[in-house]
Symmetry: C2
Subunit: 229 residues, 2 copies
DNA sequence: GCATGTATACTTACGCTTGTAAGTTTTTCT
DNA sequence: AGAAAAACTTACAAGCGTAAGTATACATGC
């Protein structure tokens, strides 16, 4: 697997101040994301490759992360937050609830398509932290359901909460049915996620226009008649 | 990474008959799928692990596959075929077009949820073979579009063709709009794929009933009013 | 019935990367 | 100056892909 013939491992990293050792954790996550973006998957994220990226020695990762998987999970958490910020930025200032919903959804799709590699990492494994235990609210479709509580959601929860909120605003304005915002949001999320996932996997597919397809999916799931364009 | 302390690599494989060397290719793919099913991802699929699974020496894979990636792509192709057979088996004998559509979609989701690991492998990488070149039909949404031609689709094409056909039957029977079967099928596929992908990644999520949720997604995308259950 | 050519698969080996343990040096702050 | 945090160096035991050469069993022709 011969690549470069053995770099002398340049140490470009400057030691952090005392008590600020945790700063390195941020740089480690950033390094992992850089590798994911560059290589297109998390397969190349190893303790050594991340260490090279950051400019530290591989064992220096251990004080911050137990192992390779912990690094990747931290990167996934960062990406979920990043998506949340992108969506929030896209909807702030919009008044019309339907436009607000659509703008947020488009921002979600935009992020996923533009950062295909890091988006894919989010859902390439079983994510931990959910209320898989005894109880927890169970969603239903077609009938009202319990809303998400504190324990939910493990990952991507903030983004999903934004979506539920946007749909509730539409319902409050009488623009869509409001009997089951959770179930409706679930349908929208599922459709948008499917779009991003397939879009970035099947590069050769004759995809329609990204923006109008995303709007089409959302409106169909929410139950608003699709405008003939 | 200490596991078992060095097995003597038992050779359980019986040499194939002359002219039937290609049989090994089938066993190699089966071995790769077994590893995927057992470990939950394709990360553990290496030439050596597959060889161990099959009972051959690692270099014996080379006559059939150029490298590790080729093995995984062959496994993906097998899984696409397998899904196609599952869907076809679920719809044969059904007369009502809407029931036929729903049954096929449910079978798709069933397969994906039941074989989560191998389904995930299908879309965990950029799949080759599409008409990414100069032309190829471009789908639109809301207006009729060119149907898929011979060059399309690279992967999962047979399954997608079944879906387009099922939707055309619904349209012919006047059960849904028929102006854009390709675009409608795309919406359905995207939604179902998103459901499977999220379902198997977010194990802790309070998911609704699998069957009714799948039907809900399909009917919403096709534009048939969702029956209050 | 037996030699033989050949497809089939094996053995050995090399150079590389990986995770991680153990102990050491360097920097920073008091 | 001294203590302690931060990060390094070295080392080991694996696993990896793959190149090169070798053994084995089968179908065929004599």
């Amino acid at each position: 697997m011969g690549g470069t013939p053995r770099q002398p491992e340049p140490r470009a990293h400057r030691r952090n101040a005392r008590g600020q050792g945790g700063l390195l954790a941020t740089e480690i996550v950033a390094g992992a994301l850089a590798i994911i973006d560059r290589t297109g998957s998390d397969a190349g994220v190893t303790l050594r490759s991340v260490a090279r990226e950051v400019g530290i020695a591989a064992p220096s990762i251990y004080p911050d992360f137990a192992n390779r998987e912990a690094v990747i999970l931290a990167a996934a958490r960062y990406v979920f937050d990043d998506i949340g910020h992108a969506v929030e930025g896209a909807v702030t200032g919009l008044e019309d609830p339907v436009e607000r919903l659509l703008a947020g959804c488009e921002a979600y799709v935009d992020y996923g398509v533009e950062h295909a590699a890091r988006y894919r990492v989010l859902f390439s494994r079983e994510l931990p932290g959910g209320p898989s235990g005894p109880a927890g609210p169970t969603a239903t479709v077609g009938t009202p359901t319990v809303l998400l509580d504190d324990r939910f959601p493990p990952a991507g929860g903030e983004v999903f909460a934004l979506l539920v909120d946007a749909i509730e605003r539409c319902a409050d304005a009488g623009r869509c049915r409001g009997d089951d915002p959770f179930g409706t949001a679930l349908g929208v999320w599922v459709a948008l996620h499917g779009m991003v996932s397939l879009w970035t996997s099947l590069g050769g597919f004759p995809w329609p226009d990204q923006r109008s397809f995303a709007r089409h999916l959302v409106l169909a799931q929410v139950g608003i008649a699709v405008a003939q364009q």
